[in-house]
């Protein structure tokens, strides 16, 4: 029993990171319908920015701030420079994001080489709670993720800006007619989405080693989680993220080794066949 709980706990910690990355995806995709596949590489860049900052300053807190800030700037540059021209053609945006993956990964390898890098974790060690081991890292994964999710929820539900975001996600033309600056709102979601990817990258760094290829795994899982949770649905992303993490952990713990990905994505496919718009209530997406 305790073994099962341990696996479940490992899974919640893992899933929290997936949920965190999925929140940025679900907001951007939910709003603009642009499949921003380069989000995995944004997470990777966030991890490296956090690493370099930690190397320079020795502080992980500064690293976190730097990762969010630098990625926010990158988000703005890609939106203003590239994606805003693709809003009427989301397919073009998707193809552009594929190109971005190559470019960003190439930049990563060029600057930092393919060898893995590592930072001293901010919280190492663990707490033993009657046989169930809580790695202190779990506090970071779950804590940061929870903070971000709660903040996203609060902003979306309680603030004027958040309501504008939801309105644009629901019906951008109608929102425009209310005087909502739709293009501006979309730009800000790109920026926020990128900043969230940066935070995700920082969390990835605290978990272990990073390489320019670390983005790929998180991209797939992030999108799967966003889709299952319903696009634009923050609570859905949270639940789906944790669910995926637990499923993956249980598959690793009890299933045939090497089949983990097959189990997890098999479940994803089944769920999406059953409910294509996701288990949660999602938005219909913006079409401009």
């Amino acid at each position: 029993m305790i073994l099962f709980l341990q696996h479940a706990l490992n899974g919640i910690s893992l899933g929290a990171v997936y949920a965190l990355i999925a929140v940025g995806i679900t907001l951007v995709y939910g709003l603009s319908r642009i499949i921003h596949f380069a989000v995995g590489e944004l997470v990777m860049l966030g991890a490296y920015v956090a690493w370099e900052t930690w190397r320079l300053t020795g502080s992980h807190t500064v690293g976190l701030a730097a990762a969010a800030a630098v990625l926010a700037v990158i988000g703005m540059i890609t939106e203003r420079g590239i994606f805003r021209f693709t809003l009427r053609e989301p397919l073009t945006g998707f193809i552009v994001s594929l190109g971005l993956i190559m470019i960003l990964q190439g930049i990563g390898i060029e600057i930092w080489s393919a060898d893995p890098r590592r930072a001293d974790p901010p919280l190492a060690g663990s707490w033993d709670v009657s046989g169930l081991i809580f790695r202190k890292q779990v506090a970071i994964n779950i804590g940061v993720s929870l903070l971000v999710l709660l903040a996203a929820y609060a902003v979306l539900m309680k603030t004027r800006y958040g309501k504008a975001v939801r309105a644009v996600a629901d019906d951008p033309s109608a929102a425009a007619l209310m005087g909502v600056p739709v293009r501006f709102i979309i730009m800000t979601t790109f920026i926020v989405g990128a900043a969230l990817a940066g935070v995700g990258g920082w969390v990835v760094l605290t978990n272990g080693s990073i390489s320019p290829f670390v983005g790929e795994a998180y991209l797939l899982r992030g999108f799967a989680v966003a889709l299952i949770g319903g696009l634009g649905n923050v609570q859905g992303a949270a639940v789906a993220g944790v669910g995926m993490g637990v499923a993956e952990s249980l598959a690793a713990g009890y299933g045939s080794p090497g089949w983990n990905d097959a189990y997890v994505f098999g479940i994803v496919i089944l769920i999406l066949l059953w409910r294509p718009t996701g288990l949660g209530r999602g938005s219909s997406g913006a079409h401009l």
Binding site: R160, D171, S173, A174, A176, L177, M178, V180
Partner: protein, 242 residues
């Protein structure tokens, strides 16, 4: 109030508006009718800023608003209630109304407005906290109209406000529209397919066909079969009845 001159709009290769000329005064309710595909919604959408004119101009009380963003058009005092109600389904009725007042900042005033409309339409007042998608069609239409009014426009445009509604509801909406114009002094431009409704509510009608205004005149012109047949290509069920 509203002056549209030689307005042209293209959607790719489709020449949707081919030089529309139209004027509306603040003290009247103007109804725009015409066959399907004539471009009636396009006229409203372009004035509201959702489309950019290829040529021509739109003036609202001497201000040129052609080509402005929808946000600036609302700030200039003109609001469109779009076709099909288009409420934000995931939000409550109150949140929808608040969205209507997005260009306004006075929270107390907004709450006050909502309170007044709730008194006026008690069945809406009773459902402020309900998700908008749970309301009946007629209730949604009323919410859509109030939402448009939340921006305190001096000119209100509505695209087919009677569609899909029960006759008794349609009647009530007609009464409210005339009141808004006569008592609140809000200029109204409607697009309508329902000729009966258009007759009761309008002071003047304009017929739009093939991207141009081909006739303007008093409401009784709509009872003239020859006139209608001339401008509408093929008869429609309404003209047969009227």
């Amino acid at each position: 109030m509203l002056k549209i001159e030689k307005l042209q709009v293209h959607f790719g290769h489709v020449h949707a508006l081919r030089g529309v000329n139209l004027e509306a005064a603040r003290n009247e309710v103007l109804v725009l009718i015409g066959p399907n595909g004539a471009g009636k919604s396009t006229v409203l959408n372009t004035v509201a800023g959702l489309n950019t004119p290829t040529e021509g101009s739109v003036h609202l009380d001497e201000t040129a608003i052609g080509g402005m963003t929808p946000r600036n058009v609302v700030k200039a005092g003109l609001t469109l209630v779009p076709q099909g109600r288009r409420l934000f389904g995931s939000m409550t009725v109150r949140e929808n109304l608040e969205m209507g007042a997005y260009t306004k900042n006075d929270k107390a005033k907004i709450d006050d407005q909502i309170a007044r409309w709730s008194e006026f339409f008690p069945e809406i007042g009773a459902r402020l906290g309900i998700r908008a998608s749970y309301l009946s069609g007629g209730q949604q239409q009323i919410v859509a109209i109030i939402r448009g009014l939340m921006s305190e426009p001096r000119t209100l445009m509505m695209d087919e406000p009677s569609i899909g509604l029960a006759p008794v509801v349609v009647k009530r909406i007609g009464v409210e529209i005339r009141r808004l114009n006569r008592e609140a002094g809000i200029g109204i431009v409607l697009v309508e397919q329902n000729v009966e409704f258009a007759l009761t509510v309008s002071d003047r009608v304009a017929i739009l066909a093939q991207g141009q205004v081909v006739h303007t005149g008093p409401p009784r012109d709509m009872r003239d079969p020859a006139l209608l047949a001339h401008h509408f290509f093929g008869s429609t069920p309404e003209t047969e009845a009227g």
